[in-house]
C-alpha cells in the first residue's frame, strides 16, 4: 500500500523547505524536495553599481553572508584583474573561518542535536514528538549543557568575525582588493584568544558529543547515502604551506577523481517554477524554486563530507551520520588552520585601492564555503551590473530532478529510506539536516543563459 508523507516546515534549517515522500511498504519510493522562498536576487542586482554587489549579496543569507561577500569580491577582482596581497588574504580567510565555525557550531548544536537528544523543558527547544530518543538521560544532560555552551561559542565566533569585519552577520570588512580592516596588535591578540577558546570547546566537547550520537545512532551510517559524486571549488587554498591549506578545487565522479573545469557547470529548470525567464507556479510537474545544478550533467554532493573525501581525509562513503561527523571533524580542522594563519598576519598599512569599471567586464568568483561550492559571476557594462549569476551550495544538494529524471542529491539520499514509525517519520528530517540546507540561499531567478554559466 502506498502512502504519502509531507513534512513542512523542515525546521532547524535556514529558510523554507518541504519534503514530500511517497512510501511503498514503509520505504521511500519517490520523493520531492521543494525550496519554497523566492526573492529574485539576481534580478535585484541588475543595474546596481558593481561594488554594491558585495553588500547586497551578503544579504542573501544570514548564516553564511561572509561567503557571499568573498565570492562577489573575488568576481570583481577577477573582472578588474586585481591581485590580493597575502596579508589581506589571511585576514579574509580568518573572517571566513569564523563564519565556518559559527555556522558549524550552530548547525550541530541548534539544528542537529535536537533530533537526537532531548533538551531541557524550555520552549521551543523541547519536544516530545520523536519516539526515537536513545541516549540515557544522564548523558543527554551533558550534551544539553554543551548545547547552551554551543550558543555562547557560536556567538563568540561571530565576535571574532566582527573584530576583523566590523559586524556579523553582513560584515563590512571583506571588499575587492582584500579587506578594509586596519590590523593592529590588539586585534591580533583578541583573535588569537577567541580562536583558543573556540578550539578548546570544539576539541573537548563538540567532538565527544558527536562520538556519543554516532554510537547510539550507528544505524544512520547506513541511511542517507548519496551518489558517489563530490565537488569542491576549494577553500583556504591560496598558499603553498600545507598547515594553512585545506582543499583545492576538485571533483569526484562515480568514485573517481576528475579534473575540475567550471565550464562543465550547468543548471536545469525542468522541475523548477521557471518558464521563459519568469516564475510560473503552474508549470507542469514543477515543484521547487531551486534550479537543478549539474556538473558534467550529473548531480553532485557538496559540503564538509565532500571536502574531506576529496582531500583524502575521509573514507569514500556517504551517509547521514558520515555527513554529521564530517562537519564536526572539519570544524576542528578549520580552527587549527585559523590558529596557524593568525600567526602569519603582519601589521601593515591598509592597502585598499580605488576601483573604477570601464567598458565591458566579466568576472567569476568560485569558492567553497560552509555548505559547499559557491559560484558568483558578474557582467558589467557602463559601470553597472548587466547580469549576475549565483549558484549556492544548496542549489547543488537540494536540486530537484533534472530533465533526464535523475533525482537531486538530497532526494537520492532519501530514496529507499525505511520509515520505522509512520506517525513519527524522524528519518527524513535527520537525513535532510545532515546536509545543512540553506533555502534562503537558494532563491533564484532564471537567467537567459541558464544552460551554460560561463
Amino acid at each position: 500500500m502506498s502512502k504519502s508523507i509531507i513534512i513542512d516546515p523542515i525546521t532547524r534549517i535556514s529558510g523554507f523547505l518541504e519534503i514530500t515522500a511517497n512510501l511503498e511498504k514503509n520505504e521511500v519510493a519517490d520523493v520531492e524536495t521543494s525550496g519554497l522562498l523566492y526573492r529574485g536576487f539576481e534580478k535585484i542586482l541588475e543595474k546596481k553599481p558593481p561594488l554594491d554587489a558585495v553588500f547586497l549579496t551578503e544579504r542573501i543569507c544570514g548564516i553564511c553572508s561572509a561567503a557571499h561577500s568573498i565570492a562577489s569580491s573575488m568576481a570583481i577582482e577577477n573582472a578588474l584583474e586585481i591581485k590580493v596581497d597575502i596579508n589581506d588574504m589571511y585576514l579574509r580567510d580568518i573572517i571566513h573561518g569564523f563564519e565556518f565555525i559559527q555556522n558549524h557550531l550552530r548547525q550541530f548544536y541548534l539544528f542537529t542535536v535536537p533530533s537526537y537528544v532531548r533538551l531541557p523543558h524550555v520552549s521551543p527547544l523541547y519536544q516530545n514528538d520523536y519516539t526515537d530518543y536513545r541516549i540515557p538521560e544522564k548523558i543527554e544532560k551533558v550534551i544539553s549543557d554543551n548545547y547552551i555552551k554551543g550558543i555562547e561559542m557560536s556567538r563568540l565566533a561571530h565576535e571574532g568575525e566582527a573584530v576583523l569585519g566590523g559586524k556579523a552577520p553582513h560584515n563590512h570588512g571583506v571588499f575587492p582588493g582584500g579587506v578594509t580592516t586596519t590590523i593592529d596588535s590588539y586585534k591580533i591578540s583578541k583573535v588569537k584568544s577567541i580562536i583558543k577558546s573556540l578550539s578548546e570547546f570544539i576539541s573537548n566537547n563538540m567532538m565527544e558529543d558527536m562520538d556519543i550520537i554516532s554510537d547510539y545512532y550507528s544505524d544512520y551510517f547506513k541511511k542517507g547515502k548519496s551518489y558517489n559524486n563530490f565537488l569542491s571549488f576549494g577553500v583556504f587554498n591560496n598558499y603553498n604551506e600545507e598547515d594553512i591549506t585545506y582543499i583545492k578545487s576538485s571533483v569526484i565522479i562515480e568514485g573517481k577523481y576528475n579534473e575540475f573545469s567550471k565550464d562543465k557547470i550547468s543548471e536545469d529548470i525542468r522541475y523548477s517554477y521557471y518558464e521563459d525567464g519568469k516564475v510560473n507556479l503552474d508549470k507542469e510537474n514543477s515543484y521547487t524554486f531551486i534550479k537543478a545544478a549539474r556538473y558534467d550533467g550529473l548531480p553532485m554532493e557538496v559540503g564538509p563530507l565532500a571536502r574531506l573525501i576529496l582531500s583524502g581525509e575521509y573514507i569514500m562513503r556517504s551517509s547521514c551520520m558520515d555527513r554529521n561527523r564530517a562537519r564536526v571533524i572539519e570544524t576542528e580542522k578549520i580552527i587549527n588552520i585559523m590558529d596557524k594563519m593568525i600567526n602569519r598576519v603582519k601589521i601593515m598599512e591598509n592597502n585598499q585601492g580605488i576601483y573604477n569599471f570601464e567598458g565591458s567586464l566579466i568576472g567569476f568568483g568560485l569558492t567553497d564555503t560552509t555548505r559547499g561550492a559557491l559560484y558568483h559571476s558578474i557582467e558589467i557594462e557602463n559601470s553597472i551590473i548587466k547580469r549576475y549569476n549565483i549558484i549556492t551550495p544548496t542549489v547543488w544538494n537540494l536540486s530537484p530532478k533534472g530533465s533526464d529524471g535523475v533525482y537531486g542529491t538530497v532526494e537520492k539520499s532519501l530514496m529507499g529510506t525505511k520509515i520505522n514509525d509512520m506517525k513519527n517519520p524522524v528519518e527524513i528530517g535527520r537525513i535532510v539536516r545532515s546536509y545543512d540546507p540553506c533555502v534562503s540561499c537558494a532563491t533564484h531567478v532564471l537567467n537567459r543563459d541558464y544552460r551554460a554559466c560561463t
Binding site: 509531507i6 513534512i7 544539553s144 573584530v163 571588499f175
Partner: protein
C-alpha cells in the same frame, strides 16, 4: 560546579511558578529575507538567548530554533493565537500571487503562505515587532524591481507595529524592547514607529569620526583615516545607535572597520542609499 541544565531547568520552573504572567508568549515568524535577524538574535549577550527564553519570552514558534517539525510545528503556531502574544516578524512579506513565493508550512495538505500566517497572527497579536529592515520597511527583499512583491509588515497589517530596522537588527534592540514591554508597556516611538531609545539620533551625530568631519579631513578610499562622507557614507541620514553600542560583543562596527555606513536601517534601503561606495 552546578550542572547548567539543572540550573536552567530550575530557573525555568521558578519562572513558570512565580511570574509566568510576566513572560509574554511569542511567535518568531521568518518570512521573505535571509533569516539574518534570528541569527543576530542568537548573538545576544548578557542577556543572551537562554535568558531571553527563560525570563522574557515564552517563544512558541521559531522555524530556526524549534525542536518540532512539520504539522506539529505549525500547530504550535496555531495554538499560540488563542491568548496574549507578541508577533516578531523577520523578513518582508511577499505578496505576489497571493504570497505563494513564500510558503512557511503545509498543514493538512494545504500550503500556508507567510502572508496568510502574518495576517492571522498579526490580527490577534497584542504587539507586533518588525525585527530588521525587511520587516520594517521592505529592505533588500523589496529592492527594485521587487520581484517577489515584498512589503513591510505594517503595510500588510495596517496596524501599529514596533519597527526595529537594521540589517540585521541588533540583538539588544529586540531584547530591550521585549524587556520594556514586559515591565512598562509600549516604548516611546518616533514618527516611523522606531523606539526612540535606540533610534533617537543619527549615526553622524555620535560618529567616532565626527572630529574629522568638523576639521574637513575626508578619506579618499576605504581603509583611510578621516570622515567617509565623500565616499558615500549614509551616517548623516541614518538613525541608529551603532557608534555607541557597536556589534558582536561590542567590539566593532562598520565605520570602525574603515567602511562607510550604507544606511541599512533606513527606509528605502537599499535603493535610495546607493551607491554604497563612491570615489
Amino acid at each position: 560546579m552546578d550542572n547548567i541544565t539543572d540550573k536552567m531547568f530550575n530557573d525555568a520552573k521558578d519562572i513558570i511558578g512565580k511570574n509566568n504572567e510576566k513572560k509574554l508568549k511569542g511567535i518568531w515568524l521568518e518570512a521573505a529575507g535571509c533569516s539574518g535577524n534570528i541569527i543576530s538574535f542568537l548573538n545576544g549577550e548578557n542577556p543572551g538567548l537562554m535568558y531571553a527564553l527563560t525570563s522574557l519570552i515564552d517563544l512558541k514558534y521559531s522555524n530556526t530554533l524549534m525542536a518540532n517539525e512539520g504539522e506539529r510545528a505549525y500547530e504550535k503556531f496555531l495554538s499560540t493565537l488563542n491568548g496574549d502574544f507578541i508577533l516578531i516578524v523577520d523578513g518582508a512579506i511577499s505578496t505576489i500571487e497571493d504570497g505563494k513565493y513564500n510558503i512557511i508550512a503545509n498543514y493538512k495538505g494545504k500550503r500556508i503562505t507567510a502572508l496568510e500566517a502574518a495576517l492571522r497572527a498579526g490580527e490577534k497579536a497584542k504587539f507586533v515587532m518588525a525585527a530588521g529592515t525587511c520587516a520594517s520597511f521592505g529592505g533588500v527583499s523589496a529592492a527594485s524591481p521587487n520581484p517577489s512583491g515584498s512589503k513591510s509588515i505594517s503595510e500588510v497589517l495596517k496596524r501599529s507595529v514596533i519597527n526595529l530596522p537594521g540589517c540585521p537588527c541588533h540583538p539588544d534592540w529586540v531584547i530591550g524592547v521585549l524587556a520594556h514591554i514586559i515591565s512598562y508597556g509600549m516604548p516611546h516611538l518616533d514618527e516611523l514607529n522606531r523606539p526612540v531609545m535606540f533610534y533617537g539620533s543619527t549615526i553622524h551625530d555620535n560618529c567616532t569620526r565626527r572630529g574629522y568631519f568638523e576639521k574637513k579631513i575626508f578619506a579618499k578610499k576605504l581603509g583611510e583615516k578621516g570622515c567617509m562622507f565623500k565616499l558615500g557614507c549614509r551616517g548623516p541620514v541614518t538613525k541608529a545607535d551603532c557608534p555607541r553600542r557597536k556589534w558582536n560583543g561590542y567590539v566593532n562596527w562598520p565605520i570602525g572597520n574603515n567602511s562607510p555606513c550604507i544606511g541599512c536601517a533606513q527606509p528605502n534601503f537599499p535603493d535610495k542609499m546607493e551607491p554604497f561606495v563612491r570615489y
